[in-house]
Amino acid sequence: MRLLFKLLRQNISITQILGFVIVNLLGGVIVLFGVQAYKDFDELSRKEDQLLSKSYIVITKSVSIINTAFGSARTFSQKDIDEIKSLSSVASVGEFRTSNFRVRAEFSLGQGRGFRTDLFLDAVPDEFVKNEYSATDGGRMKWEASVDSDTIPIILPRNYLNLYNFGFAASTGNPVVSEKLLGKFPIELVIGGRRYKAFVCGLTNKINTILVPWNFVSEANEKFASGEKKRPARLILTTDATEFDDSIIDFLDEKGYIIEGDSSHVRLQNFIYSLLYVVIGVGFMFSLLAFFMLVISILLLIEKNKEKIINLFSMGYSVQQIAKTYQCLSIIVDAAVWLAAAIIASIFYPSFSMLMSTVSPGFVPASLLIIWIVAALLAVLFASMHSLVVYCQVRKICK
């Protein structure tokens, strides 16, 4: 093998190999960076879906001078609900139940810091919410509570956290709170003189209210308020499809219903996804270019050594033995480049994710393992393809 390599390495162009290394390194780092960022953003956007069992939207009636004057007009009648239920793309419709009692929340941030505020609570039927959540102590927490419970699971709008971090905390000198840390700060709810410990199960961009279990609101309305049932001002709609189709959007527009949530957030998310697709695509184009550069370089090398290959074959060397030399060369170069790309991406990605965590508190970088897995897969793919090209070319010469 040593002699064979000594013979066949003649005519190796260091410039061509170097060109491949530089271009593939550039492309590789971009691809790995993009894939890791995609994974992290995807994780961030999935958090939303983890709260509720299906793809969902929340709708309200638009607020105008007329329905402000006639309060009932902003709530949904049974007829409205039945009409929505009849839509083919709607799988189920749930009514929001609002707390009719006074709720006071106390947030303690340690070292005597914290704040109090009046709140309101809402609930949707339990079938719209996942049954179990990760508790801050690592255990599982059920989505259930009654007025006799000491603890209540709650879901907060993400806006509230942003409002606190970028508004209240900034102006009062209180510490900012990440999504991960949020569950560790106790929130005490005072209802009718009774104190409840509330645990944040998750954050949502789509519902602008504080969600608690259905049973809790029902019982608390009976116990701490008159128990009078009001028509819902908000409805939650789910679909069996991945996303709602345009027909329901048209229907809602026509009816003057409004989809709740931060639409700009969705637009930003879509933009980030598109950007990441472009980044990964560009990186992949570079890598593909580099792939073909090495293919051409190896083909040229084989062509220059054609006579030697024919002589080796006529001496008794098999196509496989001859091809092995070039295959080893391409495997070493491919492995080295992807290893270097993975190392560079792993070194620089944490700085990027720190920056992203500052901009978006929900951004929690996943393990960098994905960089190494993708690098290993691409290295294997590239090396296999190069090896195949080498084998075919040597076989063609020896035929």
């Binding site: 002699l3 064979l4 000594k6 013979l7 003649q10 030697k308 002589n311 080796l312 074959f313 006529s314 001496m315 008794g316 060397y317 098999s318 196509v319």
Partner: protein
């Protein structure tokens, strides 16, 4: 293991219908059998197809009519497309090419070792001894590109000996050698034939390798 090589009406395609001028061939268009353990001299003037025949037997070319078959020890017969020439060249047939086919960028020892290490036939020390016997002791590490044609011929000969074989083909092996080197070469070949019982097929344009041939055939 190949016991014999049979030629049945083998002829160069270019000779079909237009045979070369001169005496009729004792090989082309005839039934000939080369036996392992025996030595043959194929003699002919230039252009009678000596190198072509070697290439046909060695599986490098197939522009011939007729049939070439290899008979194994157990009587099995291999012919045409059935032959795995990579294996046959490695284990059964060895060839010293007329044009040597050495690698100019490698030293004489490395050229031989490249062949020898394929089967682990001879160690570097043995290769050096063989080259030294042919007067190349001071050229062992010299690149073949810097060697004379005669020196390269001796390297090519040693290379042909450094593999297991049933038949060794030598295509005009001493065209550029002096008598003394031709004699040593002949002696080395004899030793190999006696030790391993190989068949020897030598071609010559007139300047014969001095050897006690069992058969001399006019091509």
């Amino acid at each position: 293991m190949i016991k014999s090589i049979c030629l049945k009406n083998v002829n160069l395609k270019v000779f079909v219908g237009a045979p070369p001028a001169g005496a009729p061939s004792e090989v082309w268009g005839r039934e000939v059998e080369f036996l392992k353990g025996r030595s043959y001299l194929l003699e002919a003037s230039s252009g009678r197809g000596k190198s072509s025949l070697c290439s046909f037997l060695y599986g490098l070319r197939s522009d011939y009519v007729g049939e070439i078959s290899f008979i194994g020890e157990n009587g099995g017969e291999l012919r045409g497309a059935d032959c795995d020439f990579v294996k046959i060249r490695k284990r059964s047939l060895s060839m010293m090419f007329q044009e040597h086919r050495l690698f100019p960028e490698l030293s004489s020892v490395d050229n031989v070792m490249l062949k020898s290490q394929l089967t682990g036939f001879a160690a570097r020390r043995q290769v050096c001894e063989m080259l030294s016997r042919l007067g190349l002791e001071d050229r062992l590490d010299t690149k073949c590109a810097k060697m004379s044609y005669g020196q390269q011929q001796r390297v090519a000969f040693v290379r042909a000996l450094c593999q297991p074989a049933d038949f060794i083909f030598l295509d005009e092996p001493i065209s550029h050698l002096d008598e003394e080197n031709a004699r040593i070469m002949s002696q080395m070949l004899k030793e190999r034939q006696q030790s391993d019982g190989v068949g020897v097929i030598v071609t010559s344009i007139g300047y014969r390798l001095p050897y006690g041939y069992d058969d001399v055939l006019k091509l």
